[in-house]
């Protein structure tokens, strides 16, 4: 446990790994894995309700289009810390990057489940096959690049561990591969461990100097591919409902991923504080909550201005399925951001939770509307995901949560509550009141 004295800002969570939620999410993951295997053995048609009219279902609409937006927490917090120089948010960054990393890797993985000929995916690395006119080409390259960037951004937590732990696993590995060395014969082991320690100590500061260029790359890539996720649908003016098809799709998707990114950081922090019985990081979260309504206001202004300029406002009040989904999306986002314009709500974990959920649901619904609900391939086509299709998505999300649960117990990811006691001492006031009353 001594290793954490050195990296004071972040701590490992000390609690057992094999908990009830662990088994719950493990079970869901295994069900998902079963259907993924089935999909590769028997084909996409055998497990999904996808058709030639609806070639993209929830695997794309949820896992890729929405999942990567939910995984924009790392992007949103990095903008705040490195570009707007708000270092007080630094404690949030590791958990944000970790969830982003999981979100993006699993989005990439679900793409490999979704595409029909994954063995040809190496074509993305062959310049002769590049097709820069395709928004998907850009999305694919940027997402792959961003996964690598995020892994590099996550190095510091690994380096901390390498630098300060006794490396028991390394010792064991040495004994395993060199059976001649008995546990008594420790000279070699000790020098190896020392070598690793000094190598990381040499590498870590050097790494920190160049990290800023990686971080900047980690801001450019999401800016590019999140806007391109909107561009993907530009090509279908005759199939995407006019409430959603507009030349502003790239801009709308970009702003959308930012407020969703801040909202997911708030939600994640509240939930993990609640579940791990840590103090709420109210100070940091209220700062994030302060940004969301402004982003959402810009977004709503672009959205409405575009509808007025294209003269499609009448469709909003038509009362059909599309106008209902538009209104739902609009009310969630406008409601959430209006609530957040009042500063007293920034410090209440309950209001933070409620508004973060509203922003996330509204933002996710917008992406669903663009990719599925507002997509009209023609008469006669119908789509609702099959059970197996749903379970593959659920399984992929479960793997994500499972990985997060396990990794925060192995690596120093979450902010150190003792470090921030001076600013983050605020107990959840309403919860405390409730306890007092009871």
């Amino acid at each position: 446990m001594r290793e954490h004295e050195h990296s004071k800002e972040f701590v490992r969570v000390h609690s057992p790994i094999l908990t009830k939620p662990f088994y719950f999410f493990l079970a869901l993951s295994l069900v998902g894995v079963y259907f993924i295997i089935l999909r590769f053995v028997r084909g996409i048609g055998a497990v999904s309700n996808l058709s030639d009219g609806y070639p993209w279902g929830i695997w794309i609409a949820y896992d890729v289009a929405t999942g990567t937006a939910i995984a924009c927490g790392g992007y949103a917090v990095a903008i705040l810390v490195y570009i707007r120089n708000r270092w007080q948010y630094h404690p949030l960054i590791r958990s944000a990057i970790l969830t982003s990393l999981f979100g993006y890797c699993l989005a990439g993985f679900s793409v490999m489940v979704d595409i029909g000929r994954p063995w040809n995916a190496y074509g993305f690395f062959m310049p002769s096959r590049w097709q820069p006119n395709s928004a998907m080409f850009e999305v694919a390259l940027c997402i792959m690049g961003y996964c690598v960037v995020q892994i590099i951004e996550f190095f510091p937590s690994l380096l901390c561990v390498l630098e300060h732990s006794k490396l028991k696993w390394l010792q064991k590995a040495i004994y395993h591969f060199h059976p001649r060395h008995t546990p008594q014969d420790e000279a070699l082991v000790r020098t190896t461990v020392e070598w690793v320690h000094s190598a990381t100590a040499w590498f870590h500061p050097k790494f920190n100097t160049i990290l800023i260029f990686i971080v900047a790359l980690g801001l450019v890539l999401p800016t590019m591919h999140q806007s391109s996720l909107g561009s993907l649908m530009l090509i279908a003016p005759t199939k995407l409902h006019p409430l959603w098809h507009t030349g502003f799709l790239p801009l709308l998707f970009l702003i959308n991923c930012m407020y969703m990114g801040y909202a997911i950081v708030i939600l994640e922090s509240l939930v993990s504080s609640y579940l791990l019985k840590r103090e709420y990081e109210v100070e940091e979260l209220s700062g994030l909550a302060h940004i969301i309504p402004w982003l959402a206001a810009v977004w709503l202004a672009v959205r409405l201005g575009d509808l007025i300029q294209r003269d499609q406002v009448a469709l909003v009040f038509k009362g059909d399925k599309y106008s209902l989904f538009f209104l739902l999306e609009f009310l969630l986002l406008a409601g959430g951001s209006l609530l957040l314009f009042e500063s007293k709500r920034w410090r209440s974990p309950r209001w933070l939770f409620a508004t973060a959920v509203m922003m996330l649901l509204g933002g996710a619904l917008y992406r669903f509307n663009v990719y599925l609900i507002g997509f009209i391939p023609g008469t006669g086509w119908r789509y609702f995901p099959s059970f197996a299709e749903l379970m593959i998505s659920v399984g992929i999300v479960s793997i994500e949560i499972l990985g997060y649960q396990v990794l925060i117990k192995f690596l120093p990811v979450l902010p150190n509550p003792h470090m921030h006691r001076d600013i983050a001492h605020v107990k959840p006031p309403k919860a405390a009141e409730a306890v007092a009353r009871a």
Binding site: D52, I83, H90, G116, N120, N133, P156, L211, F213, L217
Partner: protein, 304 residues
């Protein structure tokens, strides 16, 4: 040290960007320029008798090269029939019968429209969909295709189909028999076998002239419109019919190619790859300046 690494980064990015942009500007050939020398087909619905010889010939000729299978009907115990209900992962062309009011019936043939500015070519991320420069044929290469099905999303006619039930699925659509009948006999199988001359094969300009001539000569017989002449920037597969085209399942479409709209936006954002490189440079400068500010304040640099 820092500045060099930044410069190197920028150089690298710039080089990649230039490489990206040097790539073929694909669909955007400038609005309204139509190449009438490209190959195409004219389908005259008023001449078609619905014998489906074209469907049979298409499958016979392209079955092996296109990975097409016969589709059995549920009643067909003896495997005697090929009975596709729609275009599918096994069927590139299909004849349907439209039964309108006042006995205005009409057959209609569906297959790839071979657009002048095809959306599928514009969106395919790995160049599996290509448009031949000389012939204008929109072809598909299964050895490049990753099966992402973006072409299906993009196609305004919903022509490309996917083999959902297979483990190694491919996209299926008409290629004007480019690798089979066209190579051997100089015309697609459907045009070769059509007994009534409902399918004419040739250069787009000739077909268009032919179509207009038929409308002029037989005014009452036709709707005064050649479908495909202007739709989504023009298609090489043209249609004549006696029934309004939307009723025959040929959608009303704007004259602008969707690819032109989407590529215009994409190219505006990524022109010369300047914007991303500038953004990266700007972010680096801001982040570096912020770090210096923090260092000068005497706050110890922490990791990340």
């Amino acid at each position: 040290m820092r500045t060099t690494s930044r410069r190197q980064f920028l150089k690298l990015l710039g080089a990649t960007g230039a490489g990206l942009l040097a790539g073929r500007p694909c669909a955007a050939r400038g609005a309204g320029t139509v190449n009438n020398d490209e190959l195409g087909m004219l389908y005259d619905a008023t001449r078609c008798v619905g014998c489906k010889a074209c469907m049979a010939a298409c499958k016979r000729v392209n079955r092996d090269s296109g990975g097409l299978a016969y589709e059995r009907a549920p009643f067909d115990q003896d495997k005697l029939w090929d009975a596709p209900a729609d275009l599918s992962g096994n069927t590139r062309t299909l004849i349907k019968l439209y039964k309108g009011p006042q006995n205005r019936w009409s057959y209609i043939k569906y297959s790839c429209m071979h657009c002048q500015e095809p959306s599928c070519v514009s969106v395919c991320p790995v160049s599996a969909m290509t448009k031949d420069k000389a012939t204008g044929i929109v072809d598909y290469d299964k050895n490049k295709c990753i099966g992402c099905r973006y072409c299906q999303i993009a196609c305004p006619f919903s022509i490309p189909r996917f083999q959902w039930e297979r483990k190694a699925p491919q996209i299926v659509k008409c290629d004007l028999c480019r690798n089979t009948n066209l190579r051997g006999k100089g015309l697609p199988a459907c045009a070769e076998v059509c007994p009534t001359g409902a399918i004419t094969f040739g250069r787009r300009g000739d077909l268009l002239r032919d179509a207009r001539g038929r409308i002029e000569a037989n005014g009452g017989r036709y709707v005064n419109y050649v479908y495909g002449e202007h739709e989504v920037g023009g298609t090489n597969h043209l249609y004549l019919a006696g029934v309004p085209f939307p009723r025959l399942g040929l959608p009303r479409l704007p004259a602008e190619a969707p690819a032109e709209f989407s590529e215009r936006i994409q190219h505006t954002i990524y022109k010369g790859f300047i914007a991303p490189v500038a953004l990266y440079g700007m972010l680096c400068i801001i982040a570096l300046r912020n770090r210096k500010k923090r260092e000068s304040k005497g706050i110890q640099e922490e990791e990340e």
